[in-house]
């Protein structure tokens, strides 16, 4: 049952699962770090993205 290929596959599985958890743990810490270094602040909307619409009142004023 324990063929050399199976043994290698077992080793890859062990390293692979550990590796994925390590990667995800690093990403988890990165998220915490980024969130701490760059907390949310009220951001002003980009002026270029503001589209002004003329309302009926504006037209009446004219």
């Amino acid at each position: 049952m324990m063929t050399p290929i199976f043994e290698k596959a077992l080793l890859i599985a062990a390293i692979g699962m550990t590796g994925i958890f390590l990667f995800m743990a690093v990403f988890y810490l990165l998220i915490l770090l980024l969130d701490r270094l760059m907390p949310y602040r009220e951001e002003k909307p980009d002026e270029e993205n503001i589209v002004e619409f003329e309302t009926e009142e504006d037209e009446e004023e004219k």
Partner: protein, 383 residues
């Protein structure tokens, strides 16, 4: 002049070709009538018909009259788009542009489910190696469990091109079948009491735009330093995400999400079908691969749910996780999250699991790409 000269395709037709044309029709039926991943299964189904008509000019064939090889368009696409990995990597840009990582910033610990739910990949690889597949083939079969079509295609095209057809069909079919595969596995592994757990402590906080912009850049650098061979997968995904988040490339972001995704998906599906020729597909291997694909999806779900139950051992009452969330650690987004939310609502109509489920599901998208990168790195060392 006999019929054979007039209609050589009929003369060359075997029962295997007819079976493959039937498979093509079945895939088209599943795509249209059942809406199972239609964007991929329909082109694949049509392509399967296209390449299984004898002497099809879509494939490279030997012209019987001249004896010369005639280059077919699907072979050209295959060599240009799949063998070079360009098509799946372009899809990654599109997927990256579609992913919003802010749910992960709200519940970062749920990222770990994206790791636990890759368990099926490695268990399937072990099982495939026991069945006599070599290491490269076993890894390619296992990666079906990534529940991520492009990752499966990248790994299979590099390690086992001859198995690319059945692996792609299995990966995309099971992704579409997540609502059927996951619920019975979850019900088997959890008690009603566990399924009723509410996760009310999930946050709705706002996330800074700067953090969302920095995330793909930092992840790419870190992943590149740890595992450079995973960079093509993770890098293209994160590039797409940066285009989305930067705020100055809205047009490109929309193009990546729509036109790029549609065009490449179209070409990807029909090109993969070029590997679905009767001589490659009608083999016992195909049935084994399709069975192992299901095994991988079942054990992905198992891995995620059991990991959630394990974490609950260390959590105080009131902070326990609903173990169903663990199943969302697979990459099938947002289908898996939706399935878990619906299962939660079925047990308790006032239990809203959608937000944590989405967070875990986004973690699964990263996890599947990381798993692909790790397999691409490790297997050549051992094979």
């Amino acid at each position: 002049m006999g019929l054979e000269q007039l209609l050589p395709a009929i003369a060359g037709m075997t029962w295997q070709h007819l079976v493959m044309i039937g498979v093509g029709v079945l895939l088209i039926y599943l795509a249209i009538a059942r809406k199972y991943e239609p964007t991929l299964l329909l082109p694949m189904g049509f392509g399967a018909i296209l390449v299984n008509i004898p002497l099809s000019s879509a494939l490279t064939q030997i012209d019987p009259s001249t004896g010369e090889a005639v280059e077919g368009v699907l072979n050209v696409f295959f060599q240009a788009g799949i063998a070079t990995e360009i098509f799946p990597l372009l899809i990654f840009i599109a997927i990256g542009a579609m992913i919003d990582f802010s749910p992960l910033f709200r519940n970062p610990s749920l990222l770990l489910f994206g790791a636990a739910a890759q368990f099926g990949i490695f268990l399937t690889m072990l099982f495939a190696s026991m069945l006599g597949y070599d290491l490269r083939e076993a890894a390619s079969i296992g990666i079906i469990g990534a529940a991520d079509g492009p990752t499966s295609i990248v790994v299979a095209s590099r390690f086992a091109p001859s198995l690319l057809g059945p692996i792609s069909v299995a990966a995309y079919s099971y992704m579409a079948l997540v609502p059927i595969i996951q619920p019975p596995v979850i019900r088997m592994l959890t008690s009603k009491k566990e399924r009723l757990i509410r996760m009310s402590n999930t946050s709705n906080k706002q996330i800074s735009k700067k953090a969302l912009i920095m995330f793909p850049i930092v992840v790419t650098i870190v992943a590149g330093i740890i595992a450079p061979s995973s960079l093509s997968l993770i890098g293209f995904l994160m590039f797409g995400n940066l285009v989305r988040e930067c705020g100055v490339l809205n047009k490109l972001s929309l193009s990546a999400q729509n036109e790029l995704a549609s065009l490449v998906t179209l070409l990807l599906g029909i090109t993969i079908a070029s590997t679905m020729t009767a001589d490659r597909f009608i083999r016992v291997d195909t049935l084994i691969i399709i069975a192992l694909g299901l095994f991988a999806f079942v054990f992905d779900t198992f891995g995620g749910v059991i990991f959630a139950k394990f974490l609950n051992l260390f959590r105080k009452e009131g902070y326990k996780l609903n173990p169903m969330i663990g199943a969302c650690g697979i990459s099938a987004f947002p289908m898996s999250a939706r399935v878990i939310h619906q299962m939660g609502q079925k047990e308790d109509p006032f239990n809203y699991l959608l937000m944590p489920a989405i967070s875990a599901n986004v973690g699964g998208q990263i996890g599947s790409v990381v798993a692909g990168g790790i397999i691409l790195t490790l297997v050549p060392f051992f094979a």
